[in-house]
């Protein structure tokens, strides 16, 4: 031990140690400085493109001439654009601005994107082996409404990579509205909840012209459960009364989430038989879905369901009792009175249920 210590503090070894340490420090400092230098160079380069872009791109965007677009792009900008980073930056900026504008300005941005040869870059990305580059290419092409690339985008709607598929699905809907939903015919991968929200959001600006009613029955019997759930959401959102019976058939699906969505959809497209169908289906359901049936009945129950609901007041679950009581109070003229009567019983939570529902109704 002592021998090893003496060897370490030997001036020769100490000197070697110091040399190794200082070389290490020197290398670290060089790495830090070169990284900072690169970042700074990149930052200034971006600023240079930004200032170039701001001046004449803005002029181009505001161009309202009737004689087609003549952007007079300076040769210096084409030189800058030779660098891939400049191309990427320009595409990103144009897309960000395009998202915020409509009318002539938006059309000018698209024309400028094509004029600068940026479309080629986006199309090239579709062949890239990296999934995130492919997803970005799709995003760029649909943001710039490049309709001729639609078949290639459509081809990616069932891609194995989630983000590629998501962008492609959003893309086809963004470009063709409800027509784009035909990818639901063949998509085998799940459509996530978030993706469904995004698709519905995209459809908000599209016009529904009766195509849904034709396609929904097919999607409602899809082998992909998430397609069925999404189709159910579409049926509810666009109140597709014609698919009522196809939605009822979803009660035979083995997936609880599908049945849950079917219950929610039926409320939105209810007819005179819906409440009865729901009550008949109730005993076959799992607890969470039974609660959903009772929530649905608040809006559509008729006198025919009165005995069914009164029966549920004796259910062993207090939540079921409460929800059944709520339907009774909301759906029948003397429902609240009936609950009050029940509240007088010396057993069970009926008094609390009555008071709770009464306060909910503001009485």
């Amino acid at each position: 031990m002592l021998k090893a210590f003496t060897k370490i503090i030997n001036p020769d070894y100490l000197l070697i140690g110091i040399e190794i340490l200082s070389t290490g420090f020197f290398i670290i400092i060089i790495i830090i400085y070169s990284t900072l230098y690169l970042k700074k160079t990149r930052f200034f380069f971006r600023q240079r493109i930004q200032s170039e872009l701001e001046v004449w791109v803005t002029k181009a965007i505001l161009d309202e001439s009737e004689d087609g677009n003549n952007f007079n792009i300076p040769a210096s900008f084409y030189r800058i654009l030779k660098r891939p980073i400049a191309k990427e930056f320009t595409v990103d900026e144009l897309i960000k601005t395009k998202k915020n504008l409509t009318g002539t300005a938006a059309k000018n941005i698209i024309a400028l994107y094509e004029e600068l040869g940026l479309k080629k870059l986006s199309v090239k990305k579709l062949d890239n082996r990296k999934w995130y580059i492919r997803a970005k290419g799709i995003h760029e092409l649909y943001s710039m409404q490049q309709m001729d690339t639609l078949p290639r985008i459509y081809h990616n709607t069932n891609n194995q990579y989630e983000f590629v598929r998501m962008e492609a699905q959003i893309g086809v809907v963004n470009m063709t509205g409800f027509e784009g939903l035909r990818f639901l015919d063949m998509v085998t991968y799940p459509i996530t909840e978030w993706q469904q929200i995004k698709l519905l959001d995209q459809l908000r600006s599209a016009e529904e012209n009766g195509q849904l009613a034709t396609h929904l029955p097919k999607w409602l019997s899809s082998s992909n459960d998430t397609v069925i759930i999404f189709a159910l959401k579409l049926a509810a959102e666009y109140q597709q009364f014609s698919v009522h019976d196809a939605v009822v058939k979803c009660f035979t699906n083995r997936n609880t989430s599908v049945r849950m969505q079917a219950i929610k959809t039926l409320v939105r497209i209810a007819n005179e038989s819906t409440a009865q169908i729901l009550t008949e289906h109730y005993p076959n359901e799992k607890f969470a879905n039974q609660l959903a049936v009772l929530d649905a009945l608040v809006k559509i129950a008729t006198l025919d369901q009165a005995w069914f609901l009164i029966g549920l007041l004796d259910d062993k679950s207090d939540i079921i009792k409460l929800k059944a009581g709520r339907v009774l109070a909301h759906s029948f003229p003397r429902g609240l009175e009936a609950l009050e009567e029940r509240g007088k019983a010396p057993y069970g939570p009926y008094q609390d249920i009555y008071l709770h529902i009464k306060s909910e109704m503001g009485k």
Partner: protein, 120 residues
């Protein structure tokens, strides 16, 4: 007539400001909420166009500041789709108008003109 624009997207800010300059207004550009509040402290313009989502200080803070200084300065709020609740809040704070992105630049120019005429 002076218009202050608070918008954090550079190209968007420049586009709006050039459009309004073309219409004959004097435009003050601000890249974020902080800069907008500083400039408003120095001089109150005839109209303020502000995005709701801004770094450092939100469009609602700018609106609140303008309305606490002068009730005559008009404010147009730029909102995105799905920000209905924030737009409601903006109206409660005294916003004069709002425009949802994506929007038409000509429509914005018409609204600006109408508001400035009304406030004259």
């Amino acid at each position: 007539m002076t218009i202050l624009i608070a918008e954090d997207e550079p190209l968007m800010r420049k586009t709006i400001s050039m459009k309004l300059e073309k219409e004959g207004y004097t435009v003050i550009d601000c890249v974020d909420g902080k800069e907008a509040l500083q400039k408003l402290e120095e001089e109150l313009p005839d109209l303020v166009i502000t995005d709701i989502m801004l770094p450092y200080a939100s469009g609602l803070e700018i609106l609140r500041f303008v309305k606490s200084k002068s009730s005559s300065a008009a404010v147009i709020v730029l909102s995105a789709l799905g920000q209905e609740k924030t737009v409601e809040d903006a109206f409660e704070l005294g916003a004069d108008d709002y425009i949802t992105k994506p929007f038409n630049l000509n429509e914005l120019a018409v609204r600006v003109k109408r508001l400035l005429k009304k406030n004259q």
